[in-house]
Structure formats: structure tokens, C-alpha cells
Amino acid sequence: MNALTGLDLAAIPDRIQAEVQRAIQRSIKGVEYFSTSGPMLGSTPKDVLHSRGTMSLYHYRPMSDEIYRVPVLIVMATTNRGYILDLVPGQSFIEFLLKHGYDVYMLDWSAPRPEEKSLRMEDYVLDFIPDCVRRVQADSGEQDVSVIGYCFGGVLSLLYGSIFPDGPMKNLICFTTPIDFREMKLFSNFSDRRYFDVDRLVDSVGNVPPEMILSSFEMLRPASRAVSQIQLWENIWNDQFVKSYRMFDRWATDTLPLAGEYFRTITKDLMWDNKLYNDTMSVGGRPAKLENIKVPILHAVAEHDHIVPYDAAKHLIAKIGSADKEEVVLKGGHVSLVAGANAIKRLWPKLDSWLGTRST
């Protein structure tokens, strides 16, 4: 160590050699990166039980010798594809559930067609979800169904649960689910009713384009995309890093358009009037108060969630009518809470221990 400069002079040749090797690897892997596609995502074997327009219901093939009595229906967020929960073997939440003895179904979404611009909140909460629940009951032969909602899928599940408090939902698990939309400060400002003419937008474009949804997500952290490109270049020699980058980048940019009328309701009822938090929300004229939900509920939130900040999610458990309710705050962000290396260590085992005892 050089006492004057603080540099370890003996280590410099090794460091230079390592950097030269990485530079060579970057060139080779860089070419590979652009000439190959990423890992295949969402490949856990499944059957399409039902498909209707924007909605698809999958049943995943069991992977254990015996399964819990109560099937699980996952309700995906309407802005993104469900394969975030089924990335690749070893990093798939679906695979984890199957191997731990759950019978798993997923309500996933595809881009709404132009003629589906008139889909309303009612269609999602009073038609799509109940329809899927009925099909899960018929397919599994069980009356009880546990529901897992991710992000806005959690909001839809809460609305469903509050309108149908007498079942058949047996347990409810929400991941990073906002209820106080005032606290989603940037989204709230983007959709400020003084300046954002949602009627004009929906009337002119029909379905809200995915580019707009993606831009609004990316604006929450405007420097992060550029920085992630720099990090990709620095780490392109590292196959594990590149694989992970490609999985998450593909999913994050695979944003779905939103049905126009549905978006109008989200903006007016949730972003502007904060009706879910204020207990004034209704869907198709049916009151949707969170206090109506009496089933066991687990709410998992991320400590560093920039999309759904903790303040937007923290009141959920207090407002739910259940006696059996729990909030768990875990390290991670909006996506890393549910997918990736950290989820494997943190969220998934917690969910298994909570849901297993309530699935018999």
C-alpha cells in the first residue's frame, strides 16, 4: 500500500488484467446480447381454462403428490403481464406454490381490443373475477377459493371481496396494493383534475396506449432507465446479471393498454375522489367498503416501493373488517418484492407459512 496515495500498487496489474478481460468479454457478450433473445418466460406448464377478450384464466399443472384443499386464484394487475410471477424455473413464484402443494390458477390479461374500450370497472369486478372464481370452483370441485392480488390486481380483489363478503373467497392476499391514492404523489400530480382532461383523452384514443402507461411508470424514476443501461454495459460479461436484466426489462416494457372506460373510472373515482379510502366507492351501484371484508387477509408491502409508496398502502389492514389480518413490510421494491432472488428468501416463505395453515 502506498502511504501517500492510499493505493495498493501491488494489486494494480491484477486489476488491469481483470478489466481488460472484462472489456474483451463485453465485446463478445455484447454481440451475443443483440443476436439472441432473452430467457423464455412464463414456461411453467399450464392449461387455458377460459379466454374471453382481454381476460384469460390459466390452470397450472400440479407439481406435488398431494395438494391443499383450497385452490388459489392469482389476479394480475391490469397494466402488466402475469409472467412476472413465473419468470424462469427456480425464480418462479408459480413454480414455488406448485412445489409447495398449492393448486394454482391465474387471471391474466392481454391487451384490450379496440372494441373493448367500453369495458368498465363493473366488467372487471362483477363479471371477470366472479366468472373466474366460478370456473375455479367447477374445475377444482371446491367451494372455497383463496385470492392473491398483485398491485392493481389487489385493488380489484379488494373490490370483489367487499362486494361479495359471503364468499366464496376464503383467504385474501394482497401484494403492494394501494388504497390511499392521494399518497401516490406523482401519479396524483400527473392526473391533477385541474389539468388532466381524462374525458378528452379517453374519448380521443379509446384504450389508453401502453406507451403512456409505461412513460408514467418510468417518470417516477427518470434517471433509472439510463443508469440501468450503463449497468448492463458494465456487467454484460456476467451471464447471471444479463439474464436477470433481460427478464425484468422485458416484463417492465411489456406494458398493457388500459380499457378507456375502466381508466376513466380509475382516474375519477380513485385518483381524484379517493373513494376506496373514503369508503364511498361503489361498482355498478354496489357499495364496496373495505370493512365488509371479513376473511383472513395478508398484505405484503415493500419498504422501497416507488410505484406504490408505503403511505398509499398502509391503511389497508386497519380498514379491513377481518379479525385475522396481518401486514408484513419486507425489504425490496415494487417488483423485487414478488419476483427475483430477494422474493425467494423473503416473501414466498412468509406467504407459504401464512396460507398453508389456512388452505385445509
Binding site: 495498493d8 395438494i67 371446491e142 406523482l186 388532466f196 380521443s204 443508469v227 407459512s353
Partner: protein, 126 residues
């Protein structure tokens, strides 16, 4: 072993990380202002209108060239998806009918029994 403090690569990575945090924080503060919302929505409204007009114009152009528009191609893809969905449903119904009549489902493995107990109650992980 190179010390992180004296490692130029680690220093560069730290600097990039700090710049990201700083810029995000600065931008967030700017984007929380009503002025930003006003400017963004003015630009966004104009862009949405222009996008719609351009789409209509392009549709007319493609029609005159006797070519299908993206919307029509999407429509065909969606119809195919719908047919696939209906085939899936027919298969599902056939499976249910087969199961109801005592036979085994056409293409599915037999389902495991719903007898699993949580490990805390003595049910092991299989």
C-alpha cells in the same frame, strides 16, 4: 485484494449510483409541482389528439392502398386468439364430461388428492 475506496471501478459505480439517486430526487421534486402537471398535460393532450388524427389518416391511406391497417391485423389476431380460447374451452368441457362419466381426462395427468396439511400440522413438503 483491491480496497473499495481506492478501486476506480467501484468509485465510478458509486458515483453513477449517487447521480441516479440525486437526479431522481431532484426530478421527483420538480414533478410534484402543479406547474409540471399543467405543462405535462398540455403536451400530453396535444400528443394524444395528434396521435388520433395521424392514426385516422394512416388508416385512410392503407385503405386506398388496399392494405390492412394495424387495427385490422390486430382484429384478426384477436379473432384467432378467440378461436384458440374456444378450442381450449371445448377441450376443457370434453375433459369434464370424460371425468364425469368415470373416464380419465383426455390430455391431463390425474390430479393429486387434496389432502395436504401444512408442515406445522405434521404435513411434510413433498
Amino acid at each position: 485484494m483491491t480496497d473499495k475506496i481506492t478501486d476506480p471501478v467501484a468509485l465510478w459505480q458509486k458515483m453513477v449510483g449517487e447521480m441516479e439517486k440525486g437526479f431522481n430526487s431532484f426530478a421527483t421534486k420538480a414533478m410534484e409541482t402543479p406547474e409540471f402537471s399543467q405543462a405535462m398535460n398540455r403536451a400530453g393532450g396535444a400528443a394524444a389528439g395528434a396521435q388520433k388524427q395521424f392514426g385516422d389518416l394512416m388508416e385512410k391511406y392503407l385503405l386506398s392502398m388496399n392494405l390492412p391497417s394495424r387495427e385490422q391485423m390486430t382484429g384478426i389476431a384477436e379473432r384467432l386468439q378467440s378461436i384458440e380460447g374456444q378450442l381450449g374451452e371445448i377441450r376443457s368441457m370434453l375433459n369434464q364430461m370424460s371425468a364425469a362419466s368415470g373416464g380419465s381426462p383426455i390430455d391431463a395427468a390425474p390430479r393429486p388428492p387434496r389432502t395436504k396439511r401444512p408442515p406445522s400440522e405434521g404435513g411434510g413438503h413433498k
